[in-house]
Amino acid sequence: MKVYLLLLLYIVQCIGYIWFLKGFFPMKAVIQEEGDPHYIGNYQLPDPKFDKLIFMVVDALRSDFVFSDHSSMDFVHSLLNGGKALGYTAYSNPPTVTLPRLKGITTGSTPSFLDAILNIAEDDQSSSLSKQDSWVKQLWKSGAKVNMFGDDTWTKLFPEFFNKVDGTSSFYVADFTEVDNNVTRHLNHELQNAKDWDCMILHYLGLDHIGHKGGPNSPHMLPKQEEMDQVVRTIYSKHLLNNPNTLMILLGDHGMNEVGNHGGSSAGETSAGLVFISEQFSFHSDRAVPLEDITNSYQFLDVIQQIDLVPTLSGLLGIPIPKNNIGKLIPGILSLYCEHERKSLLFQNAYQLKRILEEAFGRELNHTKDDSSDFYLLSSLFAHSVEFEDEESIYAFISTAQDYLMSSYSDYNYFNIYIGFILFLLCSLIVLADFIFSVQRKTNADKLIQLIILTYSVTMHGSSLVEEEHQTWWGLLVLFSLFSYFLLIDIKVQYKYWNFFAIMALLRLMRAWNYSGQKLNILSVTKTSSLLQGSSISIWSIGILAYCVVLNDISRSFNEHSVGFRTFITSMSCFEALSSVLAKLIGFYSTAELFKIPSLIRFILDYVTAFYKLDEWKDCVIPLLRLSFAIYAITNALAMLRSVLDRSSNQIFPGLLSLFNLFLLNQTKLENMGLLVCVILVQRLVCRLWRHSTSPSYLFTYNLLFQNFSFFCMGNTNALSSIDLSNSFNGLRSYDMIPVGVLTFISNWSLPIIVSLGSLQLIKISASQSYPIEYLIRLKLLFNMFFYSVAGSSLLVSCFNLRFHLFIWTVFSPKLLFFLSWFGLHNLLVDFLFGVAILITI
């Protein structure tokens, strides 16, 4: 098949895949109408207990930050022990990312998976909640004035309901202090003029940023908790003490895992803290906080669903329960009411849930016998509670309804799924046929490659195998190294033992660098990167070493050119590296630690700051990064121009590659820079080992294995929480979808990109002597398509097959998205288009 036909097939396959995703992640159907007071039989709703609400969200406030003996929130502890507050561990439904969690907290519904992606694609309009029913909307409808200070996700969700807004951006992760001071600075004024508002929403982001940067045990964590505690103390002493009719809620929208990230479903991520505070309360607590977390499961006090907050809040404030809520009233709070009032609140909750159940089943919740078991159970429970009108039976119905709705309320669009799947499968079959017929001579290598691809496809069907995919790649890479070395390669290289051992040692080092995955991640002490992070000297020396290696590469790769041009390019690159390093240095130290920077560099920084006419070092970060981008663009353009003008020099390819390596190094996390050195060394050793090898199949297999392996070496996993955003905003002042997307892709895929482009050099050195370049290009495309077709078909089958599996949203759906970026971005853009362009221009 011709190359352009293959490319066409590839694009059709991509469309099929995206079509499948469209059916798999549908926009959720919601009841759009607004909440009128629900029908509750002969009962009267009780009078509201509170008329003012202070809703304080602390991003990523894990339960143990509030309740455990490591917490430094002493004032909250004293409130809890004094009965003025009621604490819970709130289960926060995955995906544990801010936007879906805020949707859950305000509407009471469980989020759809799409919300997690929209959280990253920030400016999408479809995430707005102004059409959906939520307690914010109900408050607004009842004429209450709602003020919001903090994370601008709120303003995106509710563009029109707020009276007064001051939003802060949630993605600028490096900032720990400003982002919270911007919230707190409003407090004094607002608390003094309490008549101007009825509800105040505060959303603090600093704690989450600390988690992302330094993990839950970061030295910044305890001071931040104290700061949050201080905020609670201020609000309590200045307002709550004198206003018993104000309710304050302190909560985390989600938790964080052992390394400070979130998005998944581990115990740490889903256990958020939740505290109700009011002067009106006089609860008796027999469990004095702080508590010790004996089982390390983050379960303190009573455990509730986070969405249970919604009906409870509606009851306390006397507003209708939002239509899509599937939370249930929190029993502990109900003790504020007398029995009759309790019953009426419970009935309101029950009738409201009945409405959703009817929507889900598509028919009236009648008590009929000949139905499916769930429907029968629920309708009989409901009939029972209406009949007896006692609290236990109503509560039994509410709980069962919630369980049912949380487990099954996701609908797939099967039409789209089938269309996409068939399209993908058809393309895969054509690719398969082409692969089988065009590769006639079957060697041992081809058999091994098929075995590897099949093994990988099989692992798509196990949840822990997807979670621990790095293990699969490591095992396959070891197998391939052994076989390729001992069985397949020409006999004359077989005595280069030390070469082989050096490659293996480097690969082993790379594997130990981050130990991604769920199981090994907990043993963080054994990771090379954490060892490095222990001392700033070691981490910076590795970083400088990486820069030296790459700059040396640049200087060497322009060997063919005149000395002047070579020196010019190298010194420009040095300048690019320097500006990037300075920017990283400023980001590395917090404001208080800036004095630790050596005095020589401080002098340079002072100079740069003066040059840009700025006040602070911190302001130099963006101009410095922009400068480094600009220099990269200039050197690249010059090198290309030179090769065009100077037709005799066909050595431009290694030069461009080494310049690009420097760009990628700038986009890599500091602690991962050593990995880049390892990759470059491995590439060189492999080049030496395979200089005479002529089978392109090895090269393609090696390319594939090493790419995937290096991706996981960087600490990435198949979980959304492992996406690293720390380099996504380099040189940007505000969120802009396309550059942020490109930078995120480049910084998360930097090693696979290097491997992929480096292997082109290998192809050029070893295989292009015996094969025409067009043949190699076609074979490479076909080979990669074969791999992605088999693996992708297996993944789609697995996801369809396991669509009701417990882990479908936390394990398999993220894998679908990661596969999309491998298949649609990395393979198409980097491995193929970019690669072909470079190969042709050699």
Binding site: S463, Q471, K492, W498, F501, M504, T526
Partner: protein, 257 residues
């Protein structure tokens, strides 16, 4: 490259020294003719009798007798002691399997033969250090679980190095197989046998052990969280079973093909 060669020579003290230059010469010869002399299968009377049932028993004893699930380290140590005994018996079996008319020029008597077996056992135990290194290189945890990894390495060494040492007796290698023991050893390790290896039972047990250990890693990342998923247990069981399966395949090949 030179380093690796000298390292291999250090393994067998009495092997005849080949100068590196000569080895390079051999290299270039191989290059011209890839079908170098096939490795001779050692002359054994009843190769099928070398089917390693002892490794099946060792796998069984690991759980039933030593109770590896409750106290892992002690069980591994006692299992290693047991394996030394079993492999000693296996060495005797290999010894009796040698054809009388094979080039057994020097009569050592029974005492001498047993001394060689014991020496081989000791060498195999020493070899567990390089095996440990290999395990580390191929992904064993580095800063933790060192004791377990070493015990695993000792088991593996006994299962692989010892039978090879016993069949290709170091001091007879030059005479029996036409090459120094170090060359022989490295050709075995790097799978350069160039012949029908399926009838070579001892060698297939070695390959089976390596492959079984490699497969043994697969259950560890699964989230079942069972006690038997702890670090060396699955690998060890994989090694034992792979050892037996390798022997079984070879036996079937000898008997039926």
């Amino acid at each position: 490259m030179r380093k690796a060669v000298s390292f291999s020579e250090g393994l067998s003290s009495d092997s005849s020294k080949l100068s590196p230059s000569k080895k390079d010469g051999e290299d270039t010869k191989n290059e011209k003719n890839p079908n170098v002399t096939p490795l001779k299968v050692p002359p054994l009377n009843h190769p099928v009798s070398l089917l390693p049932f002892q490794s099946l028993y060792a796998a069984y004893a690991l759980f039933a007798k030593y109770d590896v699930l409750t106290n892992k380290n002690e069980a591994l140590v006692s299992s290693l002691k047991g394996l030394v005994g079993l492999q000693f018996a296996y060495g005797v079996l290999i010894l009796f399997n040698y054809s009388q008319d094979s080039t057994q020029t020097r009569k050592r008597g029974y005492f001498g033969d047993f001394a060689v077996i014991i020496l081989n056992l000791i060498i195999s135990l020493i070899m567990s250090v390089p095996v440990h290194m290999l395990l580390l290189l191929f992904g064993a945890p580095i800063l933790s679980l060192n004791r377990e990894t070493f015990l695993l390495a000792a088991h593996l060494s006994l299962l692989t190095v010892f039978p090879i040492l016993s069949t290709y007796r170091a001091n007879h290698a030059e005479k029996d197989f036409g090459m120094s023991f170090s060359t022989l050893f490295f050709r075995l390790v790097t799978v350069q046998v160039h012949g029908d290896i399926s009838k070579h039972i001892v060698y297939l047990t070695l390959l089976g052990t390596v492959f079984g250990t490699w497969l043994g890693i697969t259950p560890i990342p699964l989230d079942w969280d069972r006690p038997w998923q702890e670090w060396p247990i699955t690998l060890l069981v994989g090694a034992f079973l792979g050892n037996f399966v390798g022997g079984l395949i070879s036996s079937i090949s000898i008997l039926f093909f």
